[in-house]
Symmetry: C2
Subunit: 271 residues, 2 copies
DNA sequence: CGTGGCCTTGAAGAATCTCAAATAATGTGG
DNA sequence: CCACATTATTTGAGATTCTTCAAGGCCACG
């Protein structure tokens, strides 16, 4: 049914990928004591470190994380990072771009189970039985750190902090899905879309972007799949929000005009 | 909003709780070498060991699990095991009875996020931030092992196997929620109820009960909440299945007449 | 034996989906 | 650089599914 491990895994080396090849001279003195400006893939140097895997880790552990030297991988818009059913080897951290994970029904229907942005981890559903339960693909040109799960496990074994961080990350995933279930199970179209937008807004804000004006990386169909409604309903609900003066919508460009209003829709007070 | 840690935690000591207080004499010789018939709470002796936490663990680890001497706790039908928001201290394993976990919306709506039966673990959503994201209560008189999470963590730290088991359990929870999301996001009433019944059937079978004839422990309203539909719709769908010759329904007593038929409804072939 | 909780069923209404068409945006090949 | 094919989005109208409201039955329990 599902394609198994047929994806060419193109692991990019540690050199900065934006820079020219000879920029690797940057990393020449990487054996120096504290490796100040060493490899751009080092967690301790990463601009995402407070959002990503190393969040909360202190020096001893952080350094050991750095020693793992995660490979990086670029994924073009529309390409898969991994497929459902594929063997689970890596956990991926988004460096740039946006991803969606999705499950496939037998009849071809697709159910989007999440959108992922910078600093977020993907692939933890593979821990259960060694194979990815869902697939993951890029919504725009993107880049990830490929973190070998086995190495991560070794680290967790030897460090209490690291173990804690890993457990929390998995549990957070459970909680995240909880709230999506609640949304899917007991909310109407407006509540769902409001919840979706508020969630996006928060995450963008946490990454230093404007929480009130942003560009959607996913199509109406993908939003619909995620929220359990048809793309036409998504579109109509966007229009409704616009007419209510809550949003300005121009295709995928969104400007939130009334954050409180959206919040009220998402969390209907009283009864 | 939510009640915080106001629940009287009644941890039953290791004595069998059905017995009278002085039955604690049962545990008097618990310091004996191999403790053959010692405490009924020992994982290595438990009839649920292949379904529950110790599943897959070998001797060295199993013994260390035994040494933790989990407390047990009885919960009467309708009583809460823990509430949403309460401080997270224990992971619970179902010994007997059935539980539901649920989230509460601000406006009082309840969303059931899972049903749990013998051998299943509950409470792992609390790992994320130290507080339970959802509450859990008994659908019938029930009993659980209360496993102090801190102890479990200690164990995982020192044993690779144990760490693996813990990670898998959490990931399994993620995968479980994935499939519920798919169900909520892209299936109609009949597909949802069929999926629910097939899932129950499987789990009962794994526990040695008949997969074709069983008693539902949850109300129509609870099923509906779990599946994202109203109780009347649940009832009507049961009736529809009965008219289609798929089931025999008598209140909460269910007999599956056509398992393949149910499966076809759940997984619509082609399109 | 009356009461309350749970379940079933009907009928009307509302929300969402389906089908269809028009428009805009984008990329392709000539 | 343009014509054309393709895709994404919006909007309308009718069909469908599910919900809401209401009534009645069954059963357990005091």
């Amino acid at each position: 049914m599902t394609e198994l491990a047929t994806v060419p895994v193109r692991l990019v080396s540690r050199a900065t990928s934006a820079a020219t090849p000879h920029s690797s001279s940057l990393t020449a003195d990487s054996s120096v004591a504290s490796r100040p400006t060493a490899l751009p893939t080092l967690c301790s140097n990463c601009h995402l470190k407070d959002l990503c895997l190393p969040c909360g880790l202190e020096e001893p552990d952080l350094e050991r994380l750095d020693e793992l030297r995660f490979g990086r991988r670029r994924v073009k818009a529309g390409e898969a990072l991994y497929h459902a059913g594929e063997r689970f080897q890596f956990v991926y951290a988004v460096r740039a771009g946006t991803f969606k994970s999705s499950l496939n029904l037998i009849d071809g229907r697709e159910q989007v189970s999440g959108f992922h942005m910078a600093g977020e981890l993907m692939g933890l559903d593979g821990v259960a039985n060694g194979h990815h339960a869902s697939g993951c693909s890029a919504l725009e040109d993107a880049e990830v750190c490929a973190i070998p799960y086995a190495h991560l496990n070794d680290l967790a074994r030897s460090s209490n902090e690291m173990q804690l961080v890993m457990s929390r990350l998995m549990s957070r995933e459970i909680v995240r899905e909880h709230s999506l279930m609640m949304l899917l199970g007991s909310m109407n179209a407006e509540e769902r879309l409001a919840g979706f937008l508020l969630n996006l807004s928060q995450r963008l804000k946490a990454r230093g972007y404007s929480p009130l004006e942003f560009h959607l990386r996913m199509s109406r169909a993908e939003i619909g799949s995620y929220l359990g409604m048809k793309l036409e309903t998504v579109s109509r609900t966007f229009s409704a929000f616009q007419h209510q003066g809550l949003l300005e919508v121009d295709k995928r460009h969104i400007r939130i005009l009334d954050l409180d209003g959206l919040t009220r829709i998402f969390q209907p007070q009283s009864h």
